[in-house]
Symmetry: C2
């Protein structure tokens, strides 16, 4: 069993990005600039946005954090999106989800100029990804593909089972894994809450991408010998052993599953760090106008 | 075994659309107007476009056919798209694919205003479909779902195997079949040319959507008893028994597969007629500005 060290890969890629930013700056080019919009004070969102801003600084980007209280109106938020769309210095920006219930996430996501949508959530980027066209790839699925690539894990002709059909992981991951080329060319099965024989299907998988958000869902008896398991779950489970009072728990019962795997990602330190790296890469591409002129 | 009569369902839906068009006209509303752009003289394309124009007339739409010779430049074609985008009387239009090799289908498809993209090929419509948002659904997958619905075929919790990963059938059909709700909520497996154990996977399927474009690919020993088989294949195979010199052949070896099925679509007369109906429905929605204001 080989542990996929997402943290180490992320560190390496951040270094590669930092080197490219240095070259761009040295050549007199524009420093990539990411803005993040954070609404309210959700603990998870605070942490994610803080990590994104810190990562921007690490690689030499400019970053801007815009905060709103949870009672901001949709109108005010859309006005902010509009300003960011028009701000020529901002190459890409994200509005951290989830948003308070009185604001439509769809409206906000659609209002973002797709050429600055470095989260890859806008319908144009989702559609172009599905069609195999250049686009800003959704961060988590892109991070998963990058891990498979860096570890030279064969995907062509393999059966990849995706657990979960969310818009930000399950669906785009399934689309990417079935695309022509590498990483891709998988036979792909998508399972979800309505799937009846999930154990039987998982046992056929060469690669499992677990993104249900159900802690320790995937047990040892659901995985065949030699499988590759990518754990996307990051549920905060209460814990009296940590200072924060919770611990991040994956969708995979690691102790049972790991011994059977050829490769497996841990939680934390697997897919998580790669998500931020995908965002940095999209921002770099946005700054260089490589996807959209 | 019950035959799914796509022709009869299509006739019924066309009648429903015709009645609605009559109501709209009686109420002084605008007559829906579809334009079709045809480049060159490919036999298949000629037939498809002629059928679309005829179907428009049958339901009371206005239709416009615009023809170009095969040597039209991409620039000229894009200028035509631009005119149609701006023409307030045209509610929706299609550019019949395939296009000659010197013209980029991606450029042309992306140039179409997504609010008039009644083929559902524009990235915005593909993306919105994937995200479960209102959109112009791609015609063939929408036709398949309509057939399942009209025949009250249960899909929830069923295992749907999609053969083929094309942008116009395989990928969108897989997305729609996994969406929450009915028809949908399927466990979905997508197989393609790189799939190794396609027979084994097909034998697990409750529903098979065959869209490989390989005549008579799906044999009797690949289908379990009681399966629902939807045949999207329409390959023109040379034949000395028809006046045209070819016959339309599906992806399913019908004689072997049909006896095992609960439901099956024939070729021709199954999915084919539904594709045009989906186009008519999208045009009606476009005329009523129901998807995009």
């Amino acid at each position: 069993m080989k542990l996929i060290d997402g943290k180490a890969v992320a560190t390496q890629i951040k270094q590669e990005i930092a080197e490219e930013v240095t070259r761009i700056k040295t050549a007199g080019g524009k420093t990539p600039h990411l803005a993040a919009v954070l609404v309210g004070h959700d603990g998870g969102s605070e942490t994610y946005v803080a990590n994104k801003v810190r990562a921007c600084e690490e690689v030499g980007f400019t970053s801007t954090l815009i905060r709103y209280e949870a009672d901001v109106t949709e109108e005010e938020l859309l006005a902010c999106v509009d300003r960011l769309n028009k701000d020529a210095d901002i190459d890409g920006f994200i509005v951290q989800l989830p948003l308070p219930k009185h604001i439509s996430e769809e409206n906000v996501t659609e209002a973002i100029d797709y050429r600055k949508d470095v989260d890859g959530f806008h319908p144009v980027n989702v559609g172009r990804m599905s069609l195999g066209m250049p686009c800003f790839l959704s961060a988590t699925p892109a991070g998963i593909l990058e891990l498979l690539k860096r570890y030279n894990i064969e995907t062509r002709g393999k059966h990849c089972v995706v657990l979960g059909r969310s818009n930000i992981v399950g669906k785009p991951a399934s689309m990417l894994m079935m695309q022509k080329g590498y990483p891709g060319d998988c036979t792909v099965t998508v399972c979800h809450s309505r799937t009846k024989n999930i154990k039987e299907i998982c046992l056929q998988a060469d690669i499992i991408i677990a993104a249900l958000g159900v802690p320790e869902f995937l047990k040892g008896d659901m995985v065949k010998e030699g499988a590759v398991v990518i754990d996307v779950g990051t549920t905060r489970v209460p814990s009296d052993k940590t200072k924060s009072g919770f611990k991040l728990t994956g969708d995979v019962k690691f102790d049972e599953v790991a011994p059977k795997c050829a490769f497996i990602t841990p939680v934390p330190g697997g897919v998580g760090p790669m998500t931020i790296v995908s965002l940095l890469r999209n921002t770099l591409l946005a700054g260089k106008k490589e996807i959209y002129p």
